[in-house]
């Protein structure tokens, strides 16, 4: 079995060495096609991470109308605290919020000089239990808060929904685009591998004819070409990963897995090992499937098959 596998591998490599330029073009084309797909995966993965990180941090803030009396606010606070998703509830003091706002303005704090803190609405901050800290749970909770007893006192419920919704739409759009690109890449890999395998089979047509004549089994004839397809796929995926890694290191030169901006940073991690392994193995598998089509077509037209 080992000797046979070694023989198949030897034959596959011999066939690949026979036309190095064809192999180079095939592997580079697969590599570039996969680079597009893997870049998309990288962006998607980081958007997912960002969205989830923001979901973890975000709190739901219920603003109470300015004119409402404290008992109404306290009743609302109690209703909110009874919600199953809520871990803790805190009333945010107007004076403290106003001071924080001024501090955030820095040197521009003169803008709010002469404005009274009583203009600000009272705010009740809800911290959610960890399992509910995600955009979907936030959105559903915000809808329910509006139906609670005492909800008429609510001016607004805020949780950074605009940003989260935009992020979610971007992610959905990229995911759809990613699916289309993945389909195109699979078709491209099938096209490239099947054509190079057919070329390889054409170059070895005399050998194949003799193999048929002397009683080689179909598996014995096919196996080296399957290996060739698998190697092409794996090498193409490896090229794509190398290019993507170079690109990632260029954008994130210290390897800190973050993108630095003037105002802060965004997490920017490379693809995890299981996804890299899945891409390499998946492309190999597509290579084998493409070889299977090519070999089948070629052998059907073979005179002694």
């Amino acid at each position: 079995m080992v000797a046979r596998t070694h023989y198949f591998l030897q034959q596959a490599l011999r066939s690949m060495r026979h036309a190095p330029w064809v192999q180079l073009v095939a592997v580079s084309t697969i590599g570039i096609s996969l680079l597009v797909l893997s870049s998309m995966l990288l962006v998607l993965r980081n958007i997912d991470a960002l969205s989830s990180a923001w979901g973890q941090q975000v709190r739901l803030v219920v603003f109470v109308r300015a004119g409402e009396l404290d008992p109404t606010r306290d009743a609302l606070k109690r209703s909110l605290a009874e919600l199953p998703e809520v871990e803790s509830v805190a009333v945010r003091d107007r004076e403290v919020a106003f001071a924080e706002f001024k501090a955030a303005l820095g040197n521009d704090d003169v803008l709010v000089d002469g404005i009274d803190a009583s203009l600000l609405p009272s705010a009740i901050e809800l911290t959610l239990r960890p399992e509910h800290r995600n955009p979907a749970a936030l959105s559903s909770l915000a809808e329910r808060v509006a139906t609670l007893q005492g909800a008429s006192a609510i001016e607004e419920v805020a949780y950074g929904q605009d940003l989260l919704e935009k992020l979610s739409k971007l992610r959905d759009g990229l995911r759809d685009l990613g699916l289309i690109i993945a389909t195109l890449v699979i078709l491209a890999v099938i096209f490239i591998v099947s054509n190079t395998v057919r070329l390889a089979m054409f170059a070895r047509r005399e050998e194949i004819e003799i193999m048929h004549l002397v009683g080689a089994t179909a598996g014995f004839i096919r196996a080296p070409f399957y290996i060739e397809g698998a190697i092409q796929g794996a090498m193409g995926a490896a090229v794509a990963m190398a290019l993507l890694f170079t690109l990632w290191r260029t954008l994130s030169p210290d390897g800190e897995s973050v993108l630095r901006f003037e105002l802060g940073y965004l997490p920017f991690e490379f693809l995890p090992t299981p996804i890299i392994a899945a891409l390499v193995l998946g492309t190999s598998l597509v290579g084998i499937i493409a070889s299977h089509f090519a070999v089948g077509r070629f052998l059907r037209g073979s005179p002694s098959s």
């Binding site: 000797a3 005399e206 003799i210 048929h212 004549l213 002397v214 009683g215 089994t217 179909a218 004839i221």
Partner: protein, 225 residues
């Protein structure tokens, strides 16, 4: 099937599309150890008959039994196993130009998964039998036509087939080489291999007086010897 019969055909027909019948109601029997010529003019059906024996073609009608196997009932995975009992030699040798003489003969054993030690031993023996032991490392392009055909015969024999089929094996050779190849095929037959040679070369037919099946228009005209 008779215990001595190695090839039997019963009312075999082979038609290609609308191009008429290449073989028409052929019934014949070849026994183990026979040496048989298939002869007749070009287009008589000699090559088609050989192709049916080594399953490169399927008959349109009729039954063929080769080495105890009914070809009609054989699955596609059975064909390679049957072919291991049949060696085939062609007019154009079909040697691999980039492989040496040894490599060409060894190839027939490699591709059926024989171990390297067996291959070395057996190929050396067969090359000695066909008189090419000293040319083992030569490329086919450095050999004469007769030597190339000897390599092809060695490759056909290396897996010790029960049947050797030769399709115009001397078609590309001069008279002296023709006689030498026929001598080699007679030796192969003397060692017990059933030999079937398709030829329309009178030199071959006169030089080796053996059973002669004459085909014309796809039918057996005479079966003499």
């Amino acid at each position: 099937m008779s215990p001595d019969a190695i090839i039997q055909m019963f009312h075999v027909c082979k038609a290609y599309g609308r191009g008429g019948r290449a073989l028409d109601d052929v019934t014949l029997r070849i026994d183990r150890g026979d040496f048989v010529f298939l002869t007749g003019p070009s287009g008589a059906g000699k090559t088609t008959l050989l192709k049916l024996i080594f399953c490169a073609e399927q008959p349109t009608m009729g039954q063929i039994i080769v080495a105890g196997r009914n070809i009609h009932r054989m699955s596609s995975s059975g064909v390679p196993l049957l072919r291991r009992h049949i060696g085939v030699v062609f007019q154009d040798f079909k040697l691999l130009a980039q492989r040496t003489v040894f490599g060409n003969v060894a190839f027939a054993m490699e591709v059926i998964g024989r171990p390297p030690r067996d291959i070395r031993r057996r190929v050396t023996t067969v090359l000695r039998e066909v008189g090419l032991a000293d040319k083992a490392n030569s490329l086919p392009s450095r050999l004469s036509g007769g030597e190339q055909q000897r390599v092809a015969i060695a490759r056909a024999l290396v897996n010790e087939p029960a049947i050797l089929l030769a399709d115009e094996p001397t078609g590309n050779l001069d008279p002296a080489l023709t006689l030498s190849i026929m001598g080699l095929l007679s030796d192969v037959n003397a060692r017990g291999t059933t030999v079937v040679v398709a030829t329309h070369d009178p030199l071959v037919l006169d030089a080796v007086p053996r059973r002669r099946i004459t085909l014309t228009g796809g039918r057996v005209l005479t079966d003499v010897g």
